[in-house]
């Protein structure tokens, strides 16, 4: 390298003659460099012109979005109370942790998940799900933080570490009477993607808590208040610099139910460890007094912490705890259909009270032998005996006289085959077969032999427990079917109760049917187990076959194919106040279901008596309190 010798004589370079022409060679090249520099400056200026002049509006908007945040103030959901004002669904305020997506950093996902005991993959997936939503929608992370989690959040939020974490005061649902009326109340949960895309939930946003089933769902709009908003100016760490405006949250409306918690609890105790449903109505108003479907999950388990495993277990449980049997189980009513048959026959003028049938344990119809449940036969039976002892042969004859279309007409009059219109989601209509129905659904004509089965509540006929209670309640009141409902105000909205349907029934005929149902419980009938001294409970047992007896015999069928037991009853006889239908799935026989109804009816009248007693001051109590000397001693 030539550099070294120069170093030894630096003065030489200083004194070296300077020749101006030395730099001449570069003059043209320097000019080229100047043009290049001009190009660079023009390039830079154009870049700024593009942003600041051409697209100013766009960036003004962007800058505004950067600073202004709308933080939601969640509105508390309305409470739910029973008919006496006892709280059955309440709110509990807690802190909800959310992720603000504007300041979200990918590398924070793992530490945040670790600090909150969440699965990092789940969290990433959740964040991905929000990808297409506008960035001002926040991601709900966790409700009800534990002390450790809260410490973690307090230590890392806002500050330099994880600015995306935000704590929001929120309300969440508590069902203080663990699991009571679970199917009636339903549960709440975070809105999911299919729901977000559906018309029903069109005005809801991601992260909203909505009613998923039961009352929570049906009355979601009333229960949901209007969320408030806090508009704030924030800096890049989401620190609030200025509060621009606050819109307070409007709490949701409280709901008063028609349910009597005391009755509900009795009904649930009666159904403990059984599968089935109990519906108790006040037939005069349509108010639902008790509404049970078992098994049932505890709605508290769904609140804010939906555990995928727990959910899967519920969804795949063979006993279907998520299935609301009270309004969606469509089962053959069995003999509980007989009062409707009896009334139909009387009203249609086909029989009168003197009409009798000889029962020898069965009868031959259309070339087939139809058995009576009593193998030895009932002998000569009239209407009252036929109902009381549930004689199948009697109703085979009646059904044959009526014909399927008359049967269908009266069944539909009683409300079968149609939804009752209860204010709960998921109601099923059941099936009332008719010749038209068969052509419509199966493109086949009706065979008279099928009518024989339907006459005793079998065949294609199905009902829900709610429908059965509704139907029998309407007959008991002499032909007025009130629409069942579970929320008090809902009924009173129009000022008075409108019956769902009315029928001009001959009260003599009604009383003949009721006499039979009275005999079922109180004379020598199949429901004598339901007898309550002092209470005129009328009812009807039912045993509905799920599989033919031959099939049952030929194979060792398990419990799942055992007959369903039914009982429907009302009281008191002449001015019914309560009608109860109970379905005991695989309960083998109706008299087992009758115990359930007896418990509920007894509880109803016991409570009524107790309340009456309290309202009439007993002289004895007053004198007891004022007995002189007792207290002083």
């Amino acid at each position: 390298m030539k550099l070294i010798p120069q170093e030894r004589q630096p003065d030489a370079s200083v004194t070296r003659p300077l020749i101006r022409d030395d730099t001449k060679f570069a003059a043209g090249k320097i000019a080229v460099f100047q043009y290049f520099a001009v190009c660079v400056f023009v390039f830079l200026a154009l870049g700024y012109w593009d942003l600041q002049v051409r697209n100013e509006e766009f960036y003004l908007e962007k800058a505004y979005q950067n600073q202004i945040k709308s933080l939601p103030i969640p509105a508390p959901r309305g409470k739910i109370v029973d008919r006496d004002g006892r709280v059955i669904v309440d709110n509990h305020s807690s802190y909800r942790l959310i992720l603000s997506r504007d300041s979200l950093r990918e590398e924070h996902v793992i530490p945040i998940a670790a600090g909150l005991n969440l699965d990092a993959n789940d969290l990433s997936a959740k964040i991905r799900r929000f990808r297409r939503q506008p960035t001002y929608f926040t991601i709900p992370l966790k409700e009800e933080l534990t002390a450790d989690e809260l410490t973690f959040v307090e230590a890392h939020k806002g500050a330099d570490s994880f600015p995306e974490m935000e704590l929001i005061k929120s309300q969440f649902r508590v069902y203080p009477r663990d699991g009571v009326a679970a199917h009636l109340l339903g549960y709440v949960g975070e809105i999911n993607e299919p729901e977000l895309n559906s018309q029903e939930w069109a005005n809801h946003n991601p992260g909203d808590v909505i009613g998923k089933s039961g009352i929570e769902r049906f009355y979601n709009e009333q229960l949901t208040g209007v969320d408030g908003q806090r508009q704030v100016r924030v800096d890049n760490r989401m620190n609030t610099r200025e509060v621009l405006g606050i819109t307070e949250a409007q709490p949701g409306k409280d709901l008063k139910l028609t349910i009597d918690l005391d009755l509900q609890v009795v009904a649930e105790l009666a159904m403990q460890n059984k599968r089935g449903a109990v519906v108790a109505l006040d037939p005069r108003t349509g108010e639902v007094l008790a509404f049970v479907s078992t098994p049932a999950p505890d709605p508290n388990h769904f609140v804010g912490r939906i555990d995928a495993k727990e959910w899967a277990a519920l969804a795949t449980d063979p006993y279907k705890p998520l299935f609301n049997r009270a309004l969606a189980a469509q089962q053959a009513p069995g003999s509980t259909f007989k009062p409707i048959m009896a009334l139909a026959a009387l009203e249609a003028g086909i029989i009168d009270e003197n009409f009798t049938v000889q029962c020898n344990g069965g009868a031959n119809w259309y070339g087939r032998w139809f058995k009576c449940h009593k193998k030895t036969g009932h002998g000569t039976v009239n209407l009252k005996t036929a109902i009381a002892q549930s004689c199948d042969v009697f109703f085979y004859a009646v059904g044959n006289k009526l014909g399927i279309d008359k049967i269908a007409e009266y069944a539909e009059m009683a409300g079968l085959g149609h939804k009752t219109g209860i204010d709960l989601p998921g109601e099923k209509e059941g099936v009332v077969p008719s010749s038209k129905w068969k052509i419509r659904t199966q493109r086949e004509k009706w065979y008279a032999g099928e009518t024989i089965s339907v006459s005793v509540g079998q065949g294609a006929l199905t009902v829900t427990p709610l429908q059965l209670a509704h139907a029998i309640g309407g007959i008991a009141t002499g032909g007025v079917w009130m629409r069942p409902h579970v929320v008090k105000e809902e009924a009173g909205k129009a000022g008075k109760l409108e019956p769902a349907r009315k029928a001009q029934l001959n009260l003599d005929n009604v009383n003949k049917v009721i006499a039979g149902m009275y005999a079922v419980v109180n004379e020598w009938g199949t429901g004598s187990m339901a007898h309550i001294p002092g209470i005129e409970l009328c009812g009807k047992t039912g045993t509905a076959q799920l599989a033919s007896n031959d099939l049952l015999k030929s194979r060792d069928m398990g419990e799942a194919f055992r007959d369903n037991g039914w009982f429907v009853g009302f009281a008191p006889r002449n001015s019914p106040e309560i009608v109860v239908a109970a379905l005991y799935e695989n309960g083998a026989h109706g008299d087992r279901a009758s115990w359930i109804v007896r418990d509920v009816v007894k509880a109803y009248f016991d409570k009524k008596a107790r309340l009456n007693k309290l309202q009439q001051p007993t002289p004895g109590v007053a004198s007891l309190l004022s007995r002189p000397g007792e207290i002083a001693r």
Partner: protein, 363 residues
Amino acid sequence: MASYRSLRDLDWPLLAVTLSICGLGILQIYSATLDTAWRSAWWKQLLWLAVGLLMMWLMTKIDYHTLLGQVPLLYGITLTLLVVTPLIGRLVWGSKRWIPVAFGFKFQPSEFAKLVIVLLVARYLTELKSDRLEVRDLLKLGGLVGLPFTLVAAQPDLGTSLTYVPILLIGLYLGGVRWQHAATVIALAAVLMPVGWFFLKDYQRARLETFIDPMKDPMGKGYQVIQSKIAVGHGGIWGWGVTHGSQTQLRFLPVAHTDFLISAFAEEHGFVGILVVLGLYFLLLMQIVQNAQTAPDRAGMFICMGVCSLLLFHLLVNVGMAAGRMPVTGIPLPLMSYGGSSMLSVFMMLGLVNNVRLRRFVS
């Protein structure tokens, strides 16, 4: 021995433009750091300005020919410092670029290497005395600049090391590189580019990817560019005024007092402000070019043009990056960004330019 005639011959216009730019810079640093942990940065910068002027004066005093004579020594010291830096340096933002001095001051050898490389290139090409470069000249000069380049790039500080390249390029251009050689080098570079991709650090690759598509990762790697463009665009034509740019003041704009100072300036002073700043820089560069044209000898010309091309590169990358026109590279805006080492090295280089100017009539 009067090596220059009079202080009157100092480049006063250049100094005036320089101080104007520094003034705008300090104002912007003040505004961008208001209410932050950096709020004392503006007067520290003022202090650096004073020290810078002193250094500039010193660089003017020593005849640049003397400095050229000391190039091997300076080059040796620079290489030593660059080797030592990773060993005793402080780890900041994942790389070791600084050597702690005293009183909390730290020193960035890679900044001063710029000055040495300017002198090195000038000396080599002066001694060449020919207007034609041979392959061996290319290799030698390339190797001499390549060594500090590699050391700095390994810190890793690719941004700073890249600033050495324009000094070399302008030298080769003015020194008379043959177009065949240039074409060969460009072709080679084009071939080696994909190979170089493998030598880049992940974050460097990410920056290039983000440059091509910032929206690919708006909350992560693309964040800086996006926020910078928002701040710039938000400024509009007239800007929001000092301390009134919301993106700067609410700290949406990242590193607003150093690398992205020009974005903060653009928000608060608008397109008009940007034109003023670009105009000042243009005057500065043209003044340096004029000094090159009037330089008394080859060495002076090479020195001025080396400084000029270095500053132009800084401008292009930093100002272009803030508007999303260049990839994000952590190199400062000369004279405006906060930072002592950068300030001192630029002032020393301007001192060199003045040095050349003072001696233009000496013969």
